[in-house]
Point group: C2
């Protein structure tokens, strides 16, 4: 059993429980709470919150109830993005993970509103993360506010939303047939931005008590390194996803990286990101004696496998 598999078997049920618990009281209308839960509780692997928690553990820190809760906020954002991406005006997907997509199940207007509610709810999760905790394990308000700011940046018109704008052009065959455009203006914001958030959030949450002034620069460097790690991981993850969907994308005439530069070159590009991510872990391990890279290495090793 890899370290990641052991970590998953411990923390996936806890992430699910946190999501379930918050979604059960997510709306004043229980029918609508159920629709929101339908969109989120669909057997996903919770890659994004899992990455946040893995980073915390890699720095030898304890996952408190507040940290667990704040780590799940990004999953609300991810879930809303899938609901909206599946809409008829977007990718027009009737199925998601073998079940009817939200609009197929409940109607288009409801799917728009469920997505809106999940996105809004994500920020409620961040701002109320301390509620389940004993006071001495509370996360400082300054920290939660900064995480809220980073999440809105990476999820909004500097990140995920703008990536979807680019992806729509791909779906409409308006792609620019330009590798740099595809990597920097579609893959980076659409997929890597949220995973970058997950990783830097984990780093920030690992250094809550390191307030000594002489640590500030070191911590800031570490946080940046984790953002880079999460972003590289996200890029590799997206390219692998496109390699897996190559035949399907052919049918739908979507121009993904393998279509643009070939399967071999796309695989090499994926490996470049993985190599860079491993180098970041090496640098981190050199600079931080408390940092254990094993778990994050497993994330990289499983790219292409079912994580």
């Amino acid at each position: 059993m890899t370290k990641l598999a052991a970590f998953q078997s411990e923390w996936l049920p806890k992430i699910e429980q946190q999501l379930k618990q918050d979604l059960a009281v997510a709306s004043r209308d229980s029918d609508f709470s159920e629709m929101m839960a339908y969109a989120v509780l669909n057997g996903g692997k919770r890659l994004r919150p899992m990455l946040t928690l893995a980073v915390v553990v890699s720095f030898g820190q304890k996952i408190t109830p507040s940290i667990l809760k704040v780590a799940t906020a990004v999953e609300w954002v991810h879930a809303y993005s899938l609901v909206h991406d599946d809409l008829p005006a977007m990718d027009n997907d009737l199925f998601r993970r073998g079940k009817p997509s939200v609009h197929a199940q409940y109607g288009e207007a409801e799917a728009i509103l469920v997505g809106d509610a999940l996105l809004t709810g994500a920020f409620h999760v961040v701002s109320s993360a301390n509620s389940t905790d004993t006071e001495n394990e509370n996360i400082a308000a300054e920290e939660l506010l900064l995480l809220s700011q980073m999440l809105s940046y990476q999820a909004g018109a500097f990140g995920m939303v703008i990536g979807q704008v680019g992806d729509m052009k791909n779906h409409r065959s308006e792609a620019k047939n330009d590798v740099n455009w595809l990597l920097n203006d579609v893959y980076a914001p659409k997929t890597a931005a949220l995973l970058g958030f997950s990783a830097i959030a984990g780093s920030r949450l690992s250094h809550l008590n390191s307030v000594a002034d002489n640590c500030e620069i070191a911590i800031s460097t570490t946080n940046s390194a984790l953002l880079t790690f999460g972003t590289d991981f996200g890029m590799a993850f997206q390219i692998q996803d496109d390699l897996d969907d190559f035949d399907q994308d052919n049918v739908e005439k979507i121009t993904s990286l393998p279509h643009l530069i070939g399967i071999k070159a796309a695989s090499e590009k994926r490996d470049e990101y993985l190599t860079h991510a491993r180098q970041t872990l090496t640098d981190l391990a050199t600079q931080n004696l408390t940092f254990d890279r094993t778990l994050l290495d497993d994330f990289l090793n499983f790219i292409g496998d079912d994580i």
Copy 2:
């Protein structure tokens, strides 16, 4: 000139300037920033941020740059809600304030994404409200985090979103023909929740420096009173809106309050909310010697007029 008219002529341009400035850098893609700006900068009266600022002034407090910025966040939320409400799957409106609605102008997928970006951006506005300020006028992180929490509550599946779910039933003639349902499950969340937020935000922002322990209960009571005031104002505002749209709603077969109980009874209901809101101001003026009710009275007096 009423006090409100003078207040508007001073602060409306400043609110517009703040919105314009933040929207100009709202996306990494300047075409998309323009779409977001198109959705927001449409000649609206900025009722919601204006209410927040009016409350601050009513308590004799200064409107700092941070307070101005945080007050505009609710306008991003309001604007996103109009973009999504206008979508073909929702109210299917091709025009908004005499201009093509966002989806009519840019396409349906873009309108969904512009709405998503504005909603996400609202939380960035709250979390970065201090950036323009001198440090000694910064709003405490605890306060901004709490405003973010309240905004997500009032805008999401406990507030505005769930009101739109109810309103969709009205548009589809699935209304329950029940006055209490219409008032409590549609009007209150759809319209009054956001105005309630605006008012309580103004109250909270007026008491940033009142940290003495013996003030806590008094401040909490004052904040609640402003939430009540904003909610009553919102209810009266919505009923007046329905009275104004009576003939149009007839054509579209939308069941609003005047259709359910008649124009006379609906006008009386509106006046009940206004009377209650005025009583709240009377109570506030009795308890708070620094509180000047004139400006907020003007908000109530202008219901039905063009504010």
